[in-house]
């Protein structure tokens, strides 16, 4: 029997689910197709070792749009995010940097490193706060076509420029700088302590194949300042049970509005007739028809895999082919017998926050140097989270899971042999690096899962393993995401839409593309 739907959403990642939830809430009959056995895409929690639940790919939440939480009532559906109150950095000389949330403790800690920085850091944050205020409204805009903005686009541009005009002269200068400089150069104008700059600079390179000294990374830094938790500026947190819990909450919201979710259903092609999308063909040969097809997967799959080239204008094809994915990060998930003991950590309560292995700016830049010709960093930047320090639901009592986000690792690293050998070598480098800072680590590992960018692509089909479905650099954001002229969630094919992280406002667990995509679909009357 052929079933028909108002809309099919291809890809059950958090954006696909968000899009489906909004469409279903508006009364549409919606089907979500997910290739894997579970929904979530890059936001999944899986028990890879008995009793231990890994937050397999993504691991922290901050950019999730508050309007999505509110409109989809995600808290009712199980969203439960616990804020991290600090970041801790071990230094090579055995000292530490403890970035407390509490301003008084933070100030005292910074003073230990630099009295000047203790004064400057609040000023830097004030300035960033102004910039965030000016830039943040963008997150809710549908990017206009610059060459032909139309009435709505012109209004968007006017709104945006109004926000920028509201900045005072000094902050506007900072705005110009942040749009052009490297993260480290930008930070160096404010902060003198090397380890603080290393830690803050990291936000400029996450998910991109660039170094903290590469021009353009300062903006990425700002992008990571746009998040909030319960209205708290730039706060990050962990979802109970791992980021899969966020996906489950959105899926539950979608289902409560009547959306249907089908797992183990891999889409091969979008069926196009006379320039109009009419359905999808699955890998198993099934065809499912719908009035509207929304692709929540990355731009490469959306345009180059699902659609025949002849259906698309040449400039879009070449823009997508030039779109930079080049995954730059991997993930190592560990099951641990006891809590790890970091060298030099003066208070075990710091384990509840994030631990960042980025002891100096040169360390981080060196990590990029190692990787930029197709390899991994011998001593990478590692962002460590031990969710079981606050959430006992992810491991047996007294045991822990440790999530390690690792940058850099390239998509292909031929000097290490085949893909299995590449993965092993990468995993060893990560464990060896971590062991420098956690001497007892190797004795307490019960299980490890290692993911290179190639593995990420294999597991969840994100092209070249880029965690943001395309790098978040200025040339690939807002009206350029994924391609100039096609940033408004529509495509050259009628009734075929985009709603994944490859569209505005981009990657990370934001639900922004899913929501904006759905609203555009509804706006078109589909």
């Amino acid at each position: 029997m052929t079933q028909s739907y108002d809309a099919i959403v291809v890809g059950g990642g958090h954006n696909g689910l968000t899009c489906a939830a909004y469409l279903a809430k508006a009364g549409r009959k919606v089907l979500v197709l997910e290739q894997r056995y579970l929904v979530g895409g890059a936001a999944v929690s899986e028990e890879k070792y008995p009793g231990f639940k890994y937050t397999v790919f993504s691991y922290v939440v901050s950019l999730l749009r508050p309007e999505v939480i509110r409109e989809l009532e995600l808290a009712k559906h199980g969203l439960q995010i616990v804020p991290h109150d600090m970041v801790w950095v071990p230094m090579e000389n055995g000292d530490q940097l403890a970035m407390y949330a509490d301003p008084a403790s933070l100030r005292e800690e910074i003073r230990r490193h630099s009295k000047r920085d203790a004064d400057m850091l609040p000023k830097f944050n004030q300035m960033m706060y102004q910039l965030v205020g000016a830039v943040k409204p963008i997150l809710g805009y549908v990017p206009p076509d610059l060459t032909c903005p139309g009435f709505r686009g012109a209004r968007t541009l006017r709104d945006f420029s109004k926000h920028l005009q509201n900045l005072d002269k000094k902050t506007f200068q900072q705005f110009s700088k942040i749009m052009t400089m490297s993260a480290d150069d930008f930070l160096a104008e404010w902060i003198e302590t090397d380890v603080i700059r290393a830690l803050m600079g990291i936000n400029g390179i996450i998910g991109t194949m660039l170094g903290v000294k590469s021009p353009g990374t300062a903006y990425v830094l700002l992008h990571h300042y746009l998040g909030e938790l319960d209205g708290a500026f730039t706060a990050w947190g962990s979802q109970k049970g791992g980021t899969g819990g966020v996906s489950d909450a959105i899926a539950s919201a979608a289902q409560s509005h009547g959306a249907e979710i089908r797992c183990n259903a891999r889409v091969e092609k979008v069926i196009v007739k006379n320039g109009r999308a009419v359905g999808v063909a699955l890998e198993n040969g099934d065809e499912i028809y719908a009035k509207t097809i929304a692709s929540a997967v990355d731009p490469y799959l959306t345009f180059r895999k699902f659609i025949d080239e002849k259906e698309l204008p040449e400039d879009l094809v070449s823009a997508i082919d030039r779109f930079k994915f080049r995954g730059s990060s991997g993930k190592v998930n560990l099951a641990l017998d006891t809590a790890p003991k970091f060298r030099g950590m003066t208070d075990p309560a710091f384990l509840r926050g994030m631990m960042a292995i980025c002891p100096s700016v040169d360390y981080v830049e060196q990590a990029y140097d190692d990787a930029k010709y197709g390899a991994f960093s011998k001593r990478p930047f590692i962002d460590v989270d031990i969710p079981t320090m606050v959430d006992p639901s992810m491991a047996p009592p007294g045991k822990h899971v440790m999530s390690c986000f690792v940058q850099y690792a390239s998509y292909d690293m031929p000097e290490y042999g085949n893909k299995d050998q590449q993965r092993d070598a990468f995993g060893d480098a990560v464990i060896d690096t971590l062991s420098e800072f956690i001497p007892n680590l190797k004795d307490i590992i019960l299980h490890k899962q290692v993911l290179t960018p190639w593995d990420i692509e294999q597991e969840i089909s994100m092209t070249e393993g880029n965690i943001f479905a395309g790098e978040l650099t200025l040339d690939q954001l807002f009206f350029f995401r994924p391609a100039a002229g096609w940033a408004d969630f529509r495509t050259p094919i009628r009734n075929y839409y985009q709603c994944g992280s490859g569209t505005h406002p981009g990657g990370g667990i934001t639900s922004g593309p899913g929501r904006l995509g759905a609203l555009e679909i509804l706006r078109d009357g589909n």
Partner: protein, 398 residues
């Protein structure tokens, strides 16, 4: 002079914030860390351990124990089986509430009552002519509340009794790490949780055992700041915040009835005479003068108020307890009642408030206006009447 509970040697050593509050003459930790948020999260994610020893406790024993209980409380004590506990109110002759608390039936003719206000005199006064022995056992026991989703697992590791068998609002006598205790499945957080009562000499050992086992479950000692957020989410009223005791109130206007507080369900008019019954019957017939409701503040509207000052929305990250005007209109002309406590609820992602308003505004989904002060200026922010408890997870009862 501040008294110390039997757990003080332990709680004082852990109270990094040195933030204490007076509770019934005892020192009680506001929060252990410099910030309360970990403690709050522990209640909803793992477990929080509270020292609740300052609650007053009374033992009521004798042939007429049931009769006395039934004379005092508004619920029917005869329907409380041995091993069961009741959450109940008790009133004065005018049907005004004196307090709410827990009455537990320990045996056929023996009850233990825990209260926030001193109640010995009231019990003795009402026991005139009855064959019953009333004893203030407040100092004879220390009490802990262990609240949160892992509380059952933690207790189970320390006792042979099957914690899975202990139902909501029931109690059992057992040993915790070889120490005799009473465990009652009650609490003030609206979550899965228990209260553990032990003799003072054993209290430190109980604390140590729970802390040691609880560490594996990320349990944290928790203070009153986190507890107050949790109890508001659970829609539970606080004495001297959401209502005043008729026995302490200096003025008539401060007194309220169970009907006004949304506790009408615990007034059993079918049972034999109890104190306040006549007045409550009259009140039931003509309806209460006010009703207690849950409110959800309209955050988009509040955000707009902050936007006037180019400020982002700011939420109350700690609970507040105050008398805040409530209006039927945005112009603040028609005063219809008061909000008594409120908090941002991280778990349901809403700004929730407990308020007492004129009955015609108590219907669900009614839109009313709450006074909020932003930059030292008063605004009326819309809020919607919603069902309480705001947060009510199935695990509380399961």
């Amino acid at each position: 002079m501040q008294k110390h509970t039997p757990f003080h040697s332990r709680t004082a050593a852990l109270c990094e914030s040195q933030s204490w509050v007076e509770w019934s003459g005892y020192m009680s930790a506001q929060m252990y860390e410099m910030d309360h948020i970990h403690e709050y999260n522990a209640i909803r994610l793992s477990a929080g351990l509270f020292d609740v020893s300052p609650l007053h406790k009374y033992s009521i024993r004798g042939r007429d124990a049931v009769a006395l209980m039934n004379r005092v409380i508004t619920r029917d004590a005869s329907r409380c089986r041995v091993g069961q506990a009741l959450y109940t109110a008790w009133c004065d002759d005018d049907g005004k509430i004196i307090d709410d608390g827990i009455v537990a039936r320990l045996s056929e003719n023996s009850f233990r009552m825990s209260t926030a206000t001193p109640t010995l005199y009231w019990l003795q006064d009402n026991a005139f002519g009855m064959d019953v022995e009333i004893e203030d056992v407040s100092d004879a026991f220390g009490a802990l509340a262990l609240q949160g989703p892992t509380s059952r697992d933690i207790l189970q590791r320390l006792t042979d009794a099957d914690m899975g068998d202990l139902e909501y609002f029931h109690l059992l006598e057992t040993r915790l790490d070889t120490i005799p205790v009473t465990i009652m499945r009650t609490g003030y957080t609206g979550d899965l949780g228990y209260e553990v009562v032990a003799e003072p000499d054993h209290c430190e050992r109980i604390w140590d055992a729970l802390m040691e086992t609880g560490a594996d479950y990320k349990m944290l000692p928790a203070g009153m700041v986190a507890l107050d957020m949790a109890r508001i989410e659970a829609g539970l009223l606080l004495l001297d915040a959401d209502f005043h005791s008729a026995s302490d109130a200096m003025f008539e206007v401060e007194k309220t009835s169970p009907y006004e507080l949304g506790l009408g369900w615990m007034v059993n008019q079918k049972k034999e005479h109890f104190v306040g019954q006549e007045a409550l019957r009259r009140e039931q017939a003509c309806g209460p003068a006010s009703c207690t409701v849950g409110l959800e503040v309209d955050l988009l509207a509040l955000e707009k108020v902050f936007a006037r000052y180019s400020m982002p929305l700011q939420l109350p990250f700690q609970s507040w307890v105050d008398a805040v005007p409530v209006y039927s209109d945005g112009k603040q002309r028609d005063h219809i009642g008061r909000a008594t406590s409120g908090t941002w609820s991280p778990i349901i992602k809403k700004y929730v408030v407990i308020a007492r308003v004129k009955p015609q505004y108590a219907k669900l989904a009614t839109r009313i206006y709450l006074e909020q002060t932003v930059e030292a200026r008063r605004f009326a922010v819309p809020a919607t009447v919603v069902k309480m408890p705001f947060f009510d997870p199935p695990r509380k009862r399961q």
